[in-house]
Structures are given as structure tokens and as C-alpha cells.
């Protein structure tokens, strides 16, 4: 036996794993360094030449990462708010106040069997949730969250938005058709009819806004509304707001327009045959859509990330700028946690009979709370994008709450009432809004 075999046999399991993994990692590292050394200048040059492309990829990554927590928060809100409206407690077991409930929902989807019934058109069946989820995720790309914080500033942002929400219809129709189930088929066809009908007033309602702002870029629209609360388009386009909210609810398939998944009539509509994570994608897409519609309402009519009144921030507090302290900042970084913990632990240690260790733990936790609070406060007053994010999310979640509230309150409309409402009321109202807006603009300008 060679010495290599003997050595190998004397290793335990961990040793063997390391013996395989470490050389591979080393080799990979060397190769990476080599490639970076050779191709690095070219790559940097390429990226420097193609900043938009880089930005696009980064934006898509960020957007995908953002959708999941957004869906989690909206799902939790829905569970909790509707429970309160129903005089129930709602989720309160997992995490503090049940906040981890949506995570458990997600894990449940992942752990369930991914089942496809006999007779389904498997390729279309598998692709449908992807299309639906993709459609709602991609709308995130053009929403301006804060000054400078947006995926892409398209000059045709609004058109892109409607194209993406139109993609959702295709996905639902695919799901309904491929499921080989009559309930699914009815649900898919209902969704097609409903979304095609409501897409028109939804689009036309925004023509007034576009006429006012003179741009279709969402970022420019927000900038056009910046200033104070009086500059928001809600005061100049109230009718458009009403049309947009109603059509947006229908577009997001929310109650009272959730006919596509009316469980009392067609079980779960297009999602009847879906289980596991495939259903999870529909589920997440629905809640992401709720947030997207809320965010769009805020962007178009409530000034996006702008503050509702003359906001004095961001202010630069020169004394607290840590980068200006030089080496002093490093020393502060070392000393402040220790001193802070001790100072905060002292009253507990002195006043009650808890042990030193417990007092220190309490002090440490308190210090963290205070430090994070101070940090956020500093960021809030001195970084404009943090302020923007705050206002954007605050306004958006007001409308998310509004949607959840509707779901807890209203019964469902019937399909003929739904279609009649879109074509007989919303569409003429949207057209009237366009003509009146255009006329007023012409009169004011002349």
C-alpha cells in the first residue's frame, strides 16, 4: 500500500471531506486569481463601458430579493388585519406577534409535494406560475423607491408597466388552460376577461397624469410632484385616482373583484390544481401585486417618495460625520460599545438583585437598541434616500391596508356586474377625465 492510501484510511470523515474540498478551493482560487489577472483589465473596461447593463443586472437581483420580504409583510398584514376585523386574534404563535407566519407559509410550500395531475399540459402547467410571478416582479423594476433608488429610469416606464401587468393575464390563462380542470378553465377565462376589461380604464386614467407631467417616466413623474402636499396629482386628478384604484384592485385580483379565485364558486379558479411551490408562486405574486398597485397609486397620485410637507431634511450634521474624525473614529468604535454597555447595565446592576452577567446582557441589548435607533435616526435626517424610502413605504402601506380592509369588508361582485362596471362606468369616466384635463391644460396655457 502506498503512503497516500494509508494516510487516507487514517483520516476521519471530516478530515476526508476537508482533504477533498480544500485542494479544490485552492485550485479554484488560483484559477480565479489567474483569470482576474489576465482578464481583469478587459472586464473592468467592459463594465465601465456598459454601466447601464451592470445596473440592469444589479437592479433585477435587488428586485428579486425585495419581492420576497414584501410579499411576507403583505401576507402577514393580511392575516393579522383581517383577523382583527373578524374579531379573531390571527397568527400569534410563530415569532413575536406571529410575524414569522409568512416565513412558515413559504417553508410549507417548499416542503409540499409538487404534484401535477393526470392530463395536464405539463410544460405550460410548469411555466404558468413563472410567468405570473415574473410579470409581477418585473413591475418593481421601474418603481422609484427613493431619490436615485430605482431599477431603471425608462422614458416609457408607464408603457413597460402595463406590458408587464398584461403578462400576468397570459400566465393566468396558461394556468387555467393547462390544468385540465373545468374550474381552472373558468377561472382562467374569467381572469382574461376581467384583466383585459380593466386594463383599459387603468391605462386611460393615467393619461391625465401624463398630460400634466409631460413625461411617462415614473421618476420624472415623482419629481414633478415634489414640493409639498399641494403639488400631488391627487388634487388635480381626483377622478383618475378613483378609476385607477378601482381598476387596480381588479388588476391585482383582489376582493371584491377576486372572481378568478372565487372559492365559493369555482373553488380556487386557475390555481385549483396547483400545489407546493407552484401554488406558492401564484400566492406570492398576488401579494406582490397588492404592493405594486399600492406603490403605483402612491407614485402617480401621492408624490411617490416626496415628503407631504416642507421637509427640512436631509441636513448634514458636520460634527457627527465619523469619517472626519480619522483615527479617533476607530478608537470610538472600540470604546463606545463597551462603555455604553457598562453605563446601561449599571442601573440594573445597582438597583435590583439580578446577577452581574444578567445585568451585562440587559445592558448589551439596550445598547444595541439605542445604537441602532441612533444610527437609523442619523440616517433618516442626513441621507435623503432613507427619508425617501420612509415616506414611500409609509404611503404605500396605507394603501396596502386599504386593500386588506376592502377584503375584510366587502362581498364579491358578479362577473356581469364586474364587466358592466368596467365598460359602462369606468371607461366613459376615464375618457371624460382625459378630455377635461386636456381642455383645462389648453385653456391655462393659452
Amino acid at each position: 500500500m502506498s503512503i497516500a492510501v494509508v494516510t487516507w484510511q487514517r483520516l476521519n470523515l471530516l478530515g476526508r471531506i476537508l482533504a477533498i474540498v480544500v485542494p479544490i478551493l485552492l485550485a479554484l482560487g488560483l484559477v480565479t486569481i489567474g483569470v482576474a489577472y489576465v482578464a481583469g483589465p478587459y472586464a473592468v473596461g467592459f463594465l465601465a463601458d456598459n454601466v447601464p447593463l451592470l445596473r440592469f443586472v444589479a437592479a433585477i437581483g435587488a428586485v428579486l430579493l425585495l419581492t420576497i420580504p414584501t410579499a411576507f409583510i403583505v401576507i402577514y398584514l393580511e392575516l393579522k388585519v383581517i383577523a382583527r376585523m373578524n374579531l379573531r386574534v390571527g397568527p400569534d404563535r410563530v415569532g413575536p406577534f406571529g410575524t414569522a407566519m409568512s416565513v412558515v407559509h413559504g417553508l410549507k410550500f417548499l416542503s409540499k409535494e409538487d404534484f401535477a395531475p393526470t392530463g395536464v399540459d405539463l410544460r405550460v402547467f410548469t411555466l404558468a406560475p413563472v410567468v405570473v410571478f415574473g410579470g409581477s416582479v418585473m413591475t418593481f423594476l421601474v418603481i422609484p423607491f427613493a431619490p436615485g433608488l430605482f431599477g431603471l429610469d425608462m422614458n416609457v416606464g408607464m408603457l413597460y408597466l402595463f406590458a408587464m401587468s398584461g403578462l400576468t393575464v397570459v400566465g393566468l390563462l396558461m394556468a387555467g388552460w393547462s390544468s385540465f380542470n373545468k374550474y381552472s378553465l373558468l377561472g382562467g377565462l374569467r381572469s382574461a376577461a376581467q384583466m383585459v376589461s380593466y386594463e383599459i380604464p387603468l391605462t386611460l386614467a393615467l393619461v391625465g397624469v401624463v398630460l400634466l407631467a409631460g413625461t411617462m417616466s415614473l421618476n420624472q413623474l415623482v419629481l414633478a410632484q415634489s414640493g409639498s402636499i399641494a403639488d400631488w396629482y391627487v388634487w388635480r386628478q381626483p377622478l383618475a385616482l378613483i378609476i385607477f384604484v378601482i381598476a387596480g384592485i381588479a388588476e391585482a385580483n383582489r376582493s371584491p373583484f377576486d372572481l378568478t379565485e372565487a372559492d365559493q364558486e369555482i373553488v380556487a379558479g386557475f390555481a385549483t390544481e396547483y400545489s407546493g411551490m407552484r401554488f406558492g408562486f401564484f400566492f406570492f405574486a398576488e401579494y406582490v401585486n397588492v404592493f405594486v398597485v399600492s406603490a403605483l397609486i402612491v407614485t402617480f397620485f401621492f408624490g411617490g417618495w416626496t415628503a407631504p410637507f416642507d421637509w427640512p431634511f436631509p441636513v448634514v450634521i458636520s460634527g457627527i460625520d465619523p469619517l472626519a474624525w480619522g483615527v479617533g473614529s476607530l478608537i470610538a468604535l472600540l470604546l463606545v460599545p463597551v462603555v455604553g454597555t457598562l453605563v446601561l447595565a449599571a442601573p440594573f446592576w445597582l438597583s435590583s438583585r439580578i446577577s452581574t452577567l444578567q445585568a451585562l446582557v440587559i445592558g448589551f441589548i439596550l445598547f444595541n437598541v439605542v445604537a441602532v435607533g441612533l444610527l437609523l435616526g442619523w440616517a433618516f435626517v442626513s441621507l435623503d434616500w432613507v427619508t425617501g424610502l420612509f415616506w414611500f413605504f409609509a404611503k404605500s402601506y396605507v394603501f396596502v391596508f386599504f386593500f386588506v380592509w376592502l377584503r375584510g369588508t366587502l362581498p364579491r361582485v358578479r362577473i356581469d356586474q364586474l364587466m358592466g362596471f368596467a365598460w359602462k362606468w369606468l371607461l366613459p369616466a376615464a375618457l371624460v377625465n382625459i378630455f377635461v384635463t386636456a381642455a383645462v391644460i389648453v385653456i391655462v396655457n393659452s
Partner: protein, 408 residues
């Protein structure tokens, strides 16, 4: 309903056809062999029509009802309720139990308002056995019965909203029902199937807990029920969906032997408590509310009116209830004289009737149970065609069938 599934599928022997296709085809063409003219007509599809099997597992078929819808797009062309998924043979079971035991078989027939399923046979058996019920027992029966009626109607109003897509009202209406059920549990020991009425009286006097709970509830019941109805009664979506939907005219209602709130919503003031009085109802003051429209909305609103009348009755009963025994003195095993007796009571869904034949032994020779839900379910196929799928639910929920009573 038999389907053509006897023997292997003919094309299974053909190697050129895949199993997938056979399964697919057999799912699509699962049309039963017609046994009657009506079935033959129903299962013949014209161009563009589609059969949709709703139930027995479906979110809104109120138990295990299966309805086959013949659809033209979203429009219902024809509808065929298929019964029997909850059949237990209660009438036959009753024939093999003695007179006392028969009551607890009829109890679970209608699990939402089970006191009324006890009341009808009890009255019939008392007629057969010539028993005089103590007046206090009669008052207790009326009191508990009206409480049960309120709980059933409260639940109905929640169900109706739920079938129209409203989430909240059902949970609000459970507040009333929970309170009443707790009250009844204080004297009967049960929350769903009370089994409280006995031949010759009731099983035990009302207790202190019952009275304190009842007093507590009565002081706020009116306002609370108003609040619950305020959630929905003037909701534009609900009114638009229910008004003019499933109109049951007076003649059809009489012809189809509809009873209870459903016929009163069609303008016929027929209430067994007034038309064929029993118990102490002749001594009590209450109105028989009627509505003329005969649509789903009228049926829904009429239940609200009835709750108010029930509260009125409870108020009077509490003031006028006499002291005394709650059970007549009877032998443990009764052998009524040979004969026949019919008794009917006004339940929350209509007329509960029992027709009992005695041959002089300690068991019923024959027991026939009339349940209103069965009668009302027949209306679904009259009222629904021509409407949309969603209206099937609105109409069925407004008729308020309970499958336990339908299938017996």
C-alpha cells in the same frame, strides 16, 4: 348514478393508444347512463355546453351536496342536484329503537337547529301516548326553541354573506351563536345536538347559569344583532347581487310545498305557530313577518325580522313562565295505543313534521320525517337556470338547506 366504468376500457387493448389518452378521455366523458327521461335530457349536451360537477367536496355546497351544472359559458342552463351522500336511514333506525330512543336519532338530522328535530317527534309521540305536558315544560321548550331559532338564523345570515364572498359576517354571527350555544349547553350539556326534549316534558329544569347568561345576553342582544346586520344589509354589492335573484313567486311556492321563512318571503303569511298552533304559542304575542318580493334579498332580510320576533317571544316567556314540574309522570317504557299521529313544528327553515304509526309495542311501527330542507332544495333547479354560476350559490344559500336534513 352509475357511470360506464364496468370492465376494461375497450381501447386499453390497442397498443397505439396511450394510457394517458384513455384516462384523459374517460375523465372528459364521465357521463352517467341515463335512467329517466329527465336524466336523458339533462345529460345530452348541445353545442357549447359544459357539465360542471360541483361537489360533494366543494367549498360552498353546505355539506355534501353534489350539483351537476350544465353551463353555457358562465350561464347555468340546467342544474341537477344529486343527493344521498349523507344518507343514514334515520327513519328505519327509529323503527328499531324504542319511543324515547327514537328522539336522539332525529336529533342530528338538522345539526344547525337540532331542538326542532326533537320537538316534532316528541309532540307526535305525546299525541299517541295521550301525555299532558306540564306548562313549565312547554314554556321551556318555547324558550330554548326560540333561542335555537335565533342562533340558526344568525348563522344563516353569515353563511349567506360568505357564499357571496364576504369573509367577516360569518365570524360576527358566530358571536351570537356561541353565546346561545353556551347557554343551551348550561341546561342540556351539549353544544350541537342537545337531545333535551323528552316525551312528556324536558330533561331537567333551567339552571341558574342559563338564566344569568340569558339575562346578560338579552340586555345586549338587540343592539348586537342590529350591529351584525349593519355590516351587510345595506351593502351595495350584496343588495345588487341578491335583489331580483331567484324570484320564487307565490303560486310556485305554494305548489312546491315551501314552508317557513322561504314562503313568507314570497308573501304567504304561513307560520305553523299561528296556522296550526302548538305548545303555548297561542298565548304569546308575536307577528308573522312577510315580504312580497320572493327574491334572495327578501329571504335574507326576512330572517332578520324573525330574529326580532323571537326576541319578543323570549321576553314574554321569561315574564310568564310558571313554576311547577318540567316532566310528566310516565312509565319508563311507554307503549302507546295503536294509531297514527302527525305533528309539525315551525323550525328556522320551515315545517318539521313527524308522522308516527304505533302498533301498540314499545317501538314505532313506522316513522316518517318531513324536513323542509329537502323541499327547498328542489327549488334550486327551478330558480337557478338562466343565471350565472355565482348566482347558484346566492340562490342556494338564500334557501338555506342543511344537508343533514335533506339526506336523512
Amino acid at each position: 348514478m352509475t357511470t360506464q366504468t364496468h370492465g376494461p376500457h375497450p381501447s386499453l387493448d390497442d397498443p397505439s393508444i396511450s394510457v394517458e389518452d384513455v384516462v384523459r378521455e374517460s375523465i372528459v366523458d364521465a357521463v352517467p347512463v341515463a335512467r329517466t327521461e329527465r336524466e336523458a335530457e339533462f345529460y345530452t349536451l348541445r353545442d357549447g355546453e359544459l357539465l360542471l360537477n360541483m361537489g360533494p367536496q366543494h367549498p360552498s355546497t353546505h355539506g355534501v351536496l353534489r350539483i351537476v351544472l350544465k353551463l353555457d359559458g358562465e350561464r347555468v342552463v340546467d342544474i341537477d342536484p344529486v343527493l344521498g351522500y349523507l344518507h343514514r336511514g334515520v327513519e328505519k333506525l327509529c323503527e328499531n329503537a324504542d319511543w324515547h330512543q327514537a328522539i336522539c336519532y332525529t336529533d342530528p338530522l338538522e345539526y344547525v337547529a337540532s331542538l326542532f328535530c326533537e320537538w316534532a317527534p316528541v309532540v307526535a309521540f305525546e299525541k299517541l301516548a295521550d301525555v299532558t305536558v306540564p306548562r313549565r315544560a312547554e314554556y321551556i321548550r318555547v324558550l330554548t326553541g326560540e333561542l335555537n331559532r335565533i342562533s340558526s338564523h344568525a348563522l344563516y345570515m353569515g353563511w349567506f354573506a360568505l357564499d357571496l364572498g364576504g369573509l367577516t359576517p360569518i365570524l360576527w354571527s358566530f358571536i351570537e351563536r356561541d353565546e346561545i350555544v353556551e347557554m343551551l349547553a348550561a341546561i342540556t350539556g351539549q353544544k350541537l345536538l342537545f337531545n333535551y326534549f323528552r316525551i312528556g316534558g324536558v330533561n331537567g329544569d333551567i339552571s341558574h347559569e342559563f338564566m344569568s347568561r340569558l339575562g346578560d345576553w338579552m340586555s345586549r342582544a338587540g343592539a348586537q344583532i342590529e350591529a351584525n346586520q349593519g355590516l351587510l344589509n345595506e351593502n351595495e354589492i350584496l343588495v345588487r347581487r341578491a335583489r331580483g335573484m331567484g324570484v320564487l313567486d307565490r303560486e310556485t311556492a305554494l305548489r312546491m310545498a315551501v314552508t317557513g321563512p322561504n314562503i313568507r318571503a314570497s308573501g304567504v303569511p304561513f307560520d305553523i305557530r299561528r296556522a296550526h298552533p302548538y305548545s303555548v304559542y297561542p298565548e304569546l304575542e308575536f307577528d308573522v313577518p312577510t315580504r312580497q318580493e320572493g327574491d334572495s334579498l327578501a329571504r335574507y332580510l326576512l330572517r332578520g325580522d324573525e330574529i326580532k320576533q323571537s326576541l319578543r317571544i323570549i321576553d314574554q316567556v321569561l315574564h310568564e313562565m310558571p313554576d311547577g314540574p318540567v316532566m310528566a309522570t310516565l312509565p319508563r317504557l311507554i307503549r302507546p295505543r295503536p294509531g297514527r299521529a302527525w305533528a309539525a313544528v315551525e323550525g328556522p327553515r320551515g315545517m318539521y313534521g313527524t308522522y308516527a304509526i304505533s302498533d301498540g309495542t314499545d317501538q314505532p311501527f313506522r316513522m316518517r320525517i318531513h324536513d323542509p330542507s329537502f323541499v327547498h332544495l328542489q327549488l334550486v333547479s327551478l330558480l337557478t337556470p338562466g343565471n350565472l354560476i355565482a348566482d347558484t350559490m346566492a340562490i342556494m344559500a338564500s334557501l338555506d338547506p342543511v344537508m343533514g336534513g335533506v339526506d336523512k
